[in-house]
């Protein structure tokens, strides 16, 4: 009887003691890589400008708003070999940029110079008072361009 009691107490101590000492082990994510695009990260070297910002209506901190997407447009490049433009979300501070979209031409069609970016594609919803900034990069099969000046939308 005494031995049985000791065994039970030992088992309880073992389970409790070990469970409080062993932290959950991390598991590596097995999510597949979602990106299959080619590009450049040039955000850190780019000065931030707001000279091209349009429709900066966001002075009042309204829970913003009815904007569903942002339309980015730019001038057509004179480089004949541009095959695509890459749209980047600039980081708010030091850090990597995020490639949002690649717009390219089909055969015989000129490369678009306008793209709509749904807000949901930004990853996080812009809060009132914040701004989101973009830049673009031109690309051909061999190389790329320096990043454009940034353009920002105020919310």
């Amino acid at each position: 009887m005494k031995t049985g009691l000791r065994t039970s107490v030992a088992a309880i101590f073992l389970v409790w003691g070990c469970s409080t000492q062993v932290a959950p082990l991390p598991m590596a994510s097995l999510k597949p890589n979602a990106s299959s695009k080619s590009n450049v990260d040039g955000s850190a070297s780019q000065p931030q400008t707001q000279s091209n910002t349009q429709n900066q209506t966001g002075t009042a901190p309204q829970p913003n708003e009815t904007t569903s997407s942002l339309r980015l447009s730019w001038s057509k490049s004179t480089s004949a070999s541009v095959g695509a433009y890459q749209i980047y979300l600039a980081p708010p501070a030091e850090g990597p940029a995020k490639l949002l979209k690649s717009v390219s031409s089909g055969t015989g069609i000129s490369v678009p110079t306008t793209v709509d970016v749904p807000l949901k594609d930004l990853g996080t919803t812009p809060v009132a008072g914040s701004k989101v900034c973009f830049y673009i990069v031109a690309e051909d099969p061999e190389t790329i361009s320096p990043p454009s000046e940034e353009a920002c939308a105020q919310f």
């Binding site: 030992a10 082990l25 091209n52 349009q54 001038s75 949002l100 031109a138 061999e142």
Partner: protein, 177 residues
């Protein structure tokens, strides 16, 4: 009672040892990064230079001399540091460029729970060369035993060009309702 406590200690030690056994350091270029996606999702590649993982078609283009900021993640915590190297198409270190290109101390040492991996950014100047079929190699140097470091490897495919297209201009934004 003394024997009982000894038995508990031994048993707990055994359980801890078994659970801790897979906890080697792991790191890789960040999954799903649009900037520096790893060749492989596996964060525990111990074979240099790229864990035996073949080159992919997910190639990031860089301009010679530009500033690059890449992102990576540590999936199991261990002390140490991170180093980035430029590898050529034969996965050999490129001669005549800084080696490593960048070094970063491991400054995040809290336990990693629920897959909340330690996130890092690392910045460096891209070498001013042409480099086709190349890769940025991330090396995690694990220093639990400083006298016997153990490394993990992760590669992301890149190319570097000294030629540049014309810089895009006139970028504007319009809000759509």
């Amino acid at each position: 009672m003394k024997n009982l406590m000894t038995a508990i200690s031994v048993a707990c030690g055994f359980v801890l040892a078994v659970k801790a056994a897979p906890a080697a350091a792991h790191a890789r270029w960040k999954l799903n990064s649009t900037i520096s996606a790893p060749r492989s999702t596996d964060p525990g590649l111990k074979t240099a230079p790229c864990g035996g993982v073949a080159r992919t078609t997910n190639v990031k283009k860089y301009l010679a001399g530009q500033k690059a900021t890449l992102e990576f993640e540590e999936t199991v915590n261990h002390p140490g540091r991170y180093e980035v190297y430029l590898l050529d198409a034969q996965e050999k270190p490129v001669a005549g460029v800084p080696s490593p290109l960048a070094t970063l101390e491991d400054t995040q040492n809290a336990p990693i729970i629920d897959s909340k991996f330690h996130q890092y950014n690392i910045s460096f100047d891209v070498p001013a060369i042409d480099c086709t079929g190349c890769a940025f190699q991330l090396v995690q140097v694990m220093l639990d035993n400083p006298n016997s470091p153990s490394n993990y490897y992760s590669c992301t495919d890149i190319s570097i060009s000294t030629k540049a297209l014309e810089k895009p201009t006139g970028l504007k934004i319009e809000k759509l309702k």
